[in-house]
Amino acid sequence: MTDITHLPPATEPSLDLHNRDIAVAGQWRLFWLKFKKHRIALLSLVVIVLMYLVAAFADFIAPVDPNATNARFTYAPPQGLSLLHDGAFHPHVDQLKMTLNTESMRREFTPDPAKPLSVGFLVPAQQPYTLLGFIPMQTKLFGLVDPKPGDSLYVFGADRLGRDIFSRVVHGAKISLSIGLVGVFMSLILGVTIGGISGFFGGWADIVIQRFIELLRSIPTIPLWMGLAAAIPVGWPPLRTYFVITLIVSLIGWTSLAREVRGKFLSLRNEDFVIAARLDGMSEIGIIFHHLVPSFMSHIIATLTLAIPSMILAETALSFLGIGLQPPIISWGVLLQEAQNIRAVAQAPWLLFTPAAAIVIAVLSLNFLGDGLRDAADPYESVS
């Protein structure tokens, strides 16, 4: 149906005006045209971009220092942000009044509408900080306009030590979203190299690599992680631990990518246009880089996007079990550690729900984005 021919045959390709730009559209333009049709994926792309912006500008967005403790506000509940006060625009939170319930031996917080605390945008920071590690800054995106001792701004509540959950989740995004990228990047290198060798050379190399992949995939992941994590010396600085954890996670993650690359190599090697290139006298290396790699590049991007959420989940699981990242590093998994006991959850459910919501949104968006990319990965199926 796609191929309308003429009698007498037209000397002009069968294109109407709408298709004229399609005629000269390369692979990436077609990719984008097809991706655009996937509404949820497009929305997810926006969400993902926003999340990474939040992660990059965490210091600017988080109103307070994520490690600042305040014994007065242990397990303080979220303070509702109201935009109006006495009919005028005046963003504020109500000051929390703390009473000690002597029967249950718990602190109870009640908002006091009589004492509004103004919330302003681009307020001066309590301490100067450096944005992205090199821009010295004095302002925060939002915060209390004139904080006095005893005032508080807990948008999503506070934890056991009175630390602001919102600021901690924002800072946690830095580690949680980037550990996925670093892990995936390592998987990419491992997967493309090993899968490429497997698909291109075939024979014994292929058999050995494929059996090794099967072996890796048959090992239960959590005990493997635990074993590898136990090998990390306790005395290492947190950042080095972080790096090693990404390495461990990616050591498992490359296998599916390697299989994808191998499969593409095998199916493309016998395509007519690859044979034609060989007959033109192109060398095998030339064929790989001129014909094979461009053909499966878009597939790899889609696979990678789908691999990031599993990396994020792996980090969360490891940290939750206490064998991944450790405090004082802040990641979403570390935040969930706080919500491990039922008492904490019953008393302060925001400890569980805030980081969990961040993880769910990130993972869902990345999955939808990956789906959209995968559907668009071969734009030549339906365009013509």
Binding site: D3, A23, D272, A276
Partner: protein
């Protein structure tokens, strides 16, 4: 109450079916009307994209989503005397389901994918009987065996418990026909049922449909793009082009007094291929004693599966000559063509190629460097115009690639690409476009430009025209002959289609199961074949003249054990 003439069983009026697309509504079927009479065959003919299949699918309301019927009526005379408008029925409702399979049956083009591989033949045919008549058990089995006998499947008692993948394409199509006949339908819709089959198998299936039609008094709606088939079987013909009816009438009138310009063009391009090309008739014959350009002797290739794909093949090509290789699928002609370029490595034999400097080299044993040079002098044109062009490169880049690899650079290369595009009938201004912007015929021209870019002396054209519509076929052949005369090329032209071979080849070799059974001048082979297989092949080709129907009187070749089943049936089932 709606009324129809007595012998009309299905009446379609102003049928319109459309598909929403990115650029608006695409009217696949646009105001089509026809009537189908009892015991008669109506052929719907048109080129790809003419909407003939969508018309057939609209009747049964099985148009692929998001297509839908916009208007018109499809009146069906029911066995109880009433008349139902199928277009008004709910596509998922109970009413249309009682029509499908029971009153109107359909067979499809692809016998591979239209049968389920996980059910036995008997179960699949029996399913229709169970759904429509509730026949089960032994009675069902008896009826299925009877149907298998009707469609002439050998040893029905054994075949009934076989799976579809154990059968060849022709046998599968017979199973499909048995399924369609299970409920004694009044109307049989056949959507290109023989297109995927070899010409000899096609002849068998056409005879079978004709026989069953006479026996059951069915009306047949036969969809095809092949004018030869139309001439052989049709009573009436409907010519479609871009969703519209161009002309309709009795087959005699369509072939011998076509009123419509499109029909005339279509018939003309078919009839043109019935004779030798004029430029070839006028040309002086190639001297018999000219030293061959390529001399192949005793070439053999066995696949790891043990199949002897090429078996002791010897042939030669003289400079400026076109050698046709004709054969059916599985005859090894494509494999043989690929051996000539060492895409496959034959084990035995010699392929002596005469280089321009006079001395000869054996392609089979040539080393890397020689092979690289030889592959500039021997080029290939591929069958599939879609797959053989990288979709990620512009047309300019595709044609420039062999030039680039030959070391041509910059301005010179650009000029050469423009020149080549003009030579094959493409606008040089289109060089920035990607292959997806071109039609099948234009893509094949791009493939030809790539092949002639490095000034070769021999071109192996593997089914270069079989993916194209008939009106484009002769143009492509004319272009190839023009280039042959301009550039002094020789061709090895591989095809399953005798008409294109007859049109342009000087000599022809007939291949059958890896062997060459006959070689000779095209005229001699076509008019005076010596081997029985050649005679069978030639007599199975549909002849585009309804006054001269031959296919039912064809010569059958079954000397060397007919391959009814891809795997021979053992007498007793052996599961070890």
């Amino acid at each position: 109450m709606m009324r129809m003439e007595d012998d009309v069983i299905l009446k379609v009026e102003d049928l319109a079916t459309s598909f929403p697309t990115r650029t608006g509504l695409f009217n696949a079927v646009d105001g089509v009307s026809f009537a189908l009479k009892r015991g008669k065959t109506l052929c719907v003919v048109g080129e790809s994209g003419s909407g003939k299949s969508v018309t057939a699918r609209s009747i049964l309301q099985i148009v692929d989503k998001p297509g839908r019927i916009d208007g018109g009526s499809i009146l069906l005379a029911r066995p109880d005397g009433s008349i139902t408008d199928l277009a008004s029925l709910d596509p998922r409702g109970r009413d249309i389901r009682t029509v499908r399979g029971k009153e109107i049956a359909m067979i499809f083009q692809e016998p591979m994918s239209s049968l389920s591989p996980v059910h036995r033949i008997g179960t699949q045919i029996g399913e229709t009987l169970r759904i429509h008549f509730g026949i089960r058990g032994q009675a069902q089995r008896e009826r299925v065996l009877e149907l298998l006998r009707q469609v002439e499947i050998p040893r029905p008692e054994t075949a009934i418990d076989r799976y579809t993948f154990e059968f060849s394409g022709g046998m599968r199509q017979r199973v499909m026909i048995a399924m369609a006949l299970a409920c004694n339908p009044q109307v049989l819709i056949a959507d290109e049922p023989t297109t995927a089959l070899d010409v000899t198998t096609q002849a068998e299936i056409l005879s079978l449909i004709k026989k069953l039609q006479t026996a059951h008094g069915m009306a047949v709606l036969f969809i095809t793009h092949d004018m030869g088939v139309v001439a052989e079987i049709a009573d009436d013909v409907l010519v479609m082009y871009r969703g519209k009816v161009m002309e309709q009438g009795p087959v005699e009138q369509i072939f011998h007094a076509p009123a419509n310009a499109y029909t005339r063009g279509l018939i003309g391009s078919v009839v043109k291929l019935e004779t030798k090309a004029e430029v070839r008739l006028k040309r002086a014959p190639i001297p018999e004693d000219a030293p061959p350009l390529l001399d192949v002797k005793n070439l053999s290739l066995t696949f790891p599966s043990g199949l002897k794909a090429v078996n002791d093949v010897s042939l030669f090509v003289r400079p400026g000559e076109t050698l046709g290789i004709v054969g059916e699928s599985g005859s090894g002609k494509t494999t043989m063509g690929r051996c000539l370029l060492r895409i496959y490595d034959p084990e035995v034999g010699t392929m002596v190629f005469r280089r321009p400097d006079g001395h000869s080299v054996d392609i089979r044993t040539a080393d890397r460097g020689d092979l690289k040079d030889i592959r500039r002098e021997v080029r290939m044109i591929f069958q599939d115009p879609v797959n053989s062009l990288s979709p990620r490169k512009t047309v300019g880049q595709i044609i420039a690639e062999p030039l680039k690899l030959a070391g041509m650079k910059g301005r010179e290369r650009e000029d050469r690409v423009a020149e080549l595009m003009q030579q094959v009938g493409l606008e040089p201004a289109w060089r920035e476009r990607y292959p997806h912007a071109f039609s099948g015929g234009q893509r094949q021209r791009i493939g030809i430009a790539r092949a002639i870019a490095v000034k070769p002396r021999l071109i192996v054209a593997d089914e270069a025209t079989s993916a194209l519509d008939v009106s484009l076929r002769s143009q492509m052949l004319d272009l190839m002959m023009k280039l042959q005369d301009e550039l002094g090329l020789s061709y090895i032209f591989i095809s399953h289609d005798m008409s294109v071979i007859r049109y342009m080849c000087d000599r022809v070799a007939v291949m059958y199961r890896g062997r060459i059974v006959e070689v000779g001048d095209t005229d001699q082979v076509v008019h005076n074949p010596t081997h029985d297989y050649t005679r069978a092949l030639l007599s199975a080709i549909p002849h585009p003249d309804p006054r001269d129907r031959r296919i039912h009187k064809r010569f059958r070749y079954d000397a060397a054990a007919p391959v009814a089943l891809t795997h021979p049936l053992p007498e007793t089932l052996d599961l070890s």
